[in-house]
């Protein structure tokens, strides 16, 4: 899979989105510890998040595989999944860039979800931090859904898991940095980065769709790589 560096990059640029959504959790963990422990906690928290992403990726890969075997010759499943993933990423990107308006406002998570997080995040124990990371990975997130669709399009457990893991690794540096050093970036810088990340998402979505189109060219067989990378190699 040659597009893995691309995945890591989309994770990296997408992580300003993560910073907006899950940054407060990272900050809360940072606030609950001192000194070198801060970095350790951040890493453990990120590991929890990565674990969830990987499991979700494996699940998505399995689902993709099932879909592929269920419709063997009728349609080009990887291409369709890649189209869906690409379209979704573009949609999320445009949403984040403020080009599109969201339909409805989501209601706040009720039923004690907030209290669960509060108690987990404020506790100093590493196990709590790890669990908070696992749960953070399960929080609804548009970026994640797009990546999961991408993972599903691999149609393979290992590739699916790896897709998500690499994407997650891409999000790690900024999250760890933000959680360790407080607000590393000013609000204005974050906003700029956020918009940049949004357009990067649109770009990733576009590439994903082109990749889906290349599946069509290869008659359902996986292409040697993403068109960008292929052209670079030439």
């Amino acid at each position: 899979m040659i597009e893995w560096p691309l995945l890591a990059i989309s994770g990296l640029v997408g992580s300003s989105h993560c910073l907006g959504m899950c940054g407060p959790f990272a900050l809360a963990i940072g606030a609950a510890s001192r000194g070198r422990a801060v970095v350790v906690h951040q890493v453990v928290y990120t590991l929890g998040r990565l674990f969830t992403y990987a499991v979700l990726g494996v699940a998505a890969g399995f689902a993709g595989q099932r879909i592929v075997t269920a419709f063997p010759r009728l349609m080009n499943v990887p291409a369709i999944l890649a189209f869906i993933a690409g379209a979704y990423l573009i949609y999320q990107g445009l949403l984040a860039a403020g080009v599109l308006k969201k339909w409805g406002v989501a209601r706040g998570a009720g039923c004690g979800a907030a209290s669960v997080f509060r108690s987990l995040l404020s506790s100093g124990a590493l196990s709590s931090v790890f669990i908070a990371g696992i749960l953070t990975g399960l929080l609804p997130c548009g970026l994640l859904y797009g990546m999961l669709a991408l993972a599903a399009s691999t149609g393979d457990l290992v590739h699916g898991g790896a897709t998500m893991l690499i994407f997650g690794l891409g999000t790690a540096p900024l999250m760890i940095a933000a959680g360790s050093a407080g607000s590393l970036l000013s609000l204005g810088a974050r906003q700029k980065l956020f918009v940049a990340a949004a357009w990067c998402l649109v770009l990733t979505g576009g590439i994903t769709m082109v990749r889906g189109a290349s599946y069509l060219d290869f008659g359902g067989e996986p292409p040697p790589g993403c068109p960008f990378c292929v052209s670079e190699e030439k």
Binding site: V55, F62, C111, L120, S123, A132
Partner: protein
């Protein structure tokens, strides 16, 4: 207050089948509350490690379950004709599943086993036991499959079911906790300890130790712990909790204070007139608890169904097991039997009604509407006939409508003299005249003693030492006062009460008084009419007066009704199949309120125990009536939706599970989603804020507002004192 029959976590009533266990052991209404109680206990200080462990338990179980899922996905993707090396990998995956399942069983199985045992001991039908046996069976079967290297493994089933059940019950418990938040807030108003004044000085004792006759010292900012009488000191008291009145009341020596009210600014010494636990606030809370414990028609319906639901599920799961055992073997039998039980874990069904009702009762309590009978809350939704008592309900007193003067007298002179005499009387007419004078900034001037003639009027002397009379026209005739042309100018209308003022044997003028409508009456009745209600005024007063008020309010009126006439009217309407809501004074209209389908009482004030009627508007704000109707309608809508969902979900999913088309892990997820839907749907009622009346709700939230309110009320008090 006693927790005899209430869950120690969410505060909701325990099912009657809960046998009373050891005396001081905490009791929980469900597994979720037991679990959540452990988790939340951390807020209270030292127990952190224990609770953290509970929280960590679920989290770690989730972690291990996710691992199990990864290996399960791997096993599921197993190709038909795997190579030898691949076969070894699959074997490793099976062992890995087993390895990761063990901690999940240990982490989450424990509390479930405890709960099942408790249910067994109390002789209740136990779905938990069935659930546990299903989980144990699927685990045992998989264990055998691993070691025998034959057949599929179902470790993920055991994990998913345990995690989902724990999560689902916990969600429910959190939901229940939120519905009773308002009641807990009320309970927390009372302090834990009080300052008791004794012969030897002052001691700090626990609130429970206070008995009637104790003398307590209450500092500014402290809550009044028990009902009592002030023996020393003056203070502004915020009585919003018990009277709904947002404006603080200034109280001094001899005045009564109520438990749960707040001493805003003065130091008070109070003699307790009731022992701790039997004060106004406690009676208020008890009244609401009575409402949430009561059985409504919806609850009776749900209970009837639940009564045969459990045995039916038992039967279906056994039949499912037996059928699939003969048809396709043990593993399918275990899985499908378990799926039936997991799906029908009757959480949604049991919660559908009570959770919505509890949430609505809490919301009403927050708006100073006390509901004593939860059935009233559901009946209000269907009510189309609203009866109102007039005096004291739609009207709140008298007001001066017009002033007639003799040719050589100004209206200021007349009002000044009349108000001076009226100050000596507590009669509503006198009060109205005094209020009128104050509103028009006319100062009262009179000298010497005032004499009151019962049923006639007041007598005094003016600054120029003339004899001044204030009273009915008939009394003026008795005293042979010279009328001038005023006699002819007096209106003959029956809705006007005339008070005549005379000085020096000559009539100076007359004040025409009219009953004043309660501020909220017009808008409240209009809103009710817009909601489709027929509004009827049932008055004991003169028919013409009742009609006059009715015209103003767009309602129909019947006057000259004796209390037994009102009763007959209500009974006739109810006999015609109507749901009749009667709104009236909680004491004087008690029989009518009791006879109506829903009796709504005003003026219960602090005297909750004596109020009749199933709903009480503590702050006498009639605009809460349409709000209550809408709250009631949303409640009934929510209950219907919840019940429909619970029935529909079970009706569709149980056959699917029995047919073997529903994997237990999927069933577990569906169960969590179902519980989540019912809980969140009901909790929307707990935050029903849309139709709030905007005025009259300025509670003294910050110190600043409180101080302003105190000053205002002091200023208002001054002219009277």
């Amino acid at each position: 207050m006693s927790h005899a029959a209430h869950c120690d976590y969410c505060g909701l009533p325990l099912a009657s089948s809960h046998k009373v266990a050891a005396d001081d052991a905490p009791r929980y209404c469900c597994f979720g509350c037991r679990f959540a109680a452990e988790v939340n206990a951390q807020g209270e200080g030292d127990g952190t490690s224990r609770v953290q462990s509970t929280m960590t338990r679920l989290g770690l179980a989730l972690f291990f379950s996710m691992n199990v899922m990864v290996f399960t996905f791997f096993l599921w993707s197993q190709a038909e004709n795997a190579s030898a090396s691949a076969a070894i990998l699959y074997d490793v995956a099976r062992y890995a599943c087993l390895l990761f399942t063990l901690p999940v069983l240990l982490l989450l199985g424990g509390p479930l086993v405890e709960d099942a045992c408790a249910e067994l001991r109390s002789g209740r039908a136990s779905l938990n036991l069935l659930l546990l046996s299903g989980v144990a069976a699927s685990f045992a079967y998989s264990l055998w499959a691993v070691f025998a290297a034959a057949g599929h493994v179902y470790f993920e089933v055991a994990c998913m079911v345990l995690v989902a059940v724990t999560l689902g019950r916990w969600l429910e418990a959190s939901g229940k906790l939120r519905t009773t938040a308002e009641l807990r807030r009320l309970e927390k108003l009372l302090p834990d300890v009080v300052r008791r004044v004794t012969a030897s000085g002052e001691e700090v004792v626990p609130l429970d130790a206070v008995t009637s006759g104790d003398v307590l010292r209450i500092l500014p900012g402290e809550a009044v712990p028990v009902d009592g009488q002030i023996v020393r000191g003056t203070a502004a008291i915020d009585e919003a909790t018990v009277t709904g009145e947002s404006l603080p009341v200034v109280k001094e020596c001899g005045h009564k204070v109520f438990s749960g009210t707040m001493n805003l600014d003065g130091e008070l010494t109070v003699e307790a007139t009731a022992s701790a636990g039997s004060g106004t606030l406690e009676r208020l809370i008890a009244a609401v608890m009575q409402a949430v414990s009561g059985r409504t028609r919806f609850q009776r319906l749900a209970e009837t169904i639940a009564a045969w639901f459990l045995p039916a599920i038992l039967l279906i799961s056994v039949v499912t097991f037996a059928y699939h055992y003969t048809a396709s073997g043990l593993s399918a039998a275990i899985l499908n039997g378990l799926a039936v039980i997991v799906i029908s874990c009757p959480c949604a069904l049991g919660l559908a009604t009570p959770l919505a009702l509890w949430a609505a009762v809490g919301t009403a309590t927050r708006r100073h509407v006390l509901i004593r009978d939860a059935d009233a809350l559901t009946q209000l939704a269907a009510a189309r006939t609203f009866g109102f008592d007039k005096t004291g309900t739609l009207t709140s007193g008298c007001e001066v409508a017009e002033v007639l003067t003799a040719p050589d007298v100004t209206s200021e002179e007349l009002v000044s003299l009349a108000a001076a005499l009226a100050q000596g009387s507590n009669h509503p007419l006198s009060q109205a005249i005094v209020n009128y004078a104050r509103q028009h900034q006319v100062s009262a001037s009179v000298s010497g003693e005032l004499r009151s003639h019962a049923g006639r009027g007041m007598e005094g002397r003016s600054l120029t030492d003339e004899l001044v009379l204030l009273g009915s026209a008939r009394w003026m005739d008795e005293r042979q006062v010279h009328w001038g042309d005023l006699r002819e100018r007096l209106p003959q209308s029956s809705d006007i009460t005339t008070v005549v003022c005379a000085a020096g044997g000559k009539v100076l003028g007359a004040l025409l008084l009219r009953e004043s409508l309660r501020e909220s009456a017009v808008s409240a009745l209009q809103a009710l009419q817009q909601l489709g209600a027929r509004t009827e005024i049932l008055s004991g007063d003169h028919p013409a007066r009742a009609q006059m008020i009715a015209t103003l309010l767009g309602a129909r009126a019947t006057g000259a009704m004796l209390p037994e006439d009102k009763l007959r009217w209500i009974r006739d309407a109810r006999a015609g199949g109507e749901t009749v809501v009667m709104t009236g004074d909680g004491l004087n209209d008690a029989p009518a309120l009791a006879a109506a389908s829903v009796g709504i009482a005003l003026g219960c004030g602090a005297d909750v125990a004596r109020w009749s009627g199933s709903i009480c508007l503590l702050n006498d704000d009639l605009e809460l009536l349409p709000w209550m109707v809408e709250l009631s309608r949303s409640t009934v809508r929510t209950i219907r939706w919840n019940l429909l969902w619970a029935f529909g979900y079970n009706a569709i999913c149980i056959p699917l599970a029995a047919a073997g088309w529903l994997h237990p892990a999927v069933a577990a997820a569906a169960m969590v989603v179902s519980s989540l839907l019912v809980v969140s749907n009901s909790l929307r009622l707990a935050s029903e804020e849309e139709h709030l009346p905007q005025d009259g709700l300025k509670l003294a939230t910050s110190n600043e507002t409180a101080t302003t309110l105190v000053r205002e009320s002091r200023e208002l008090m001054e002219p009277v004192a």
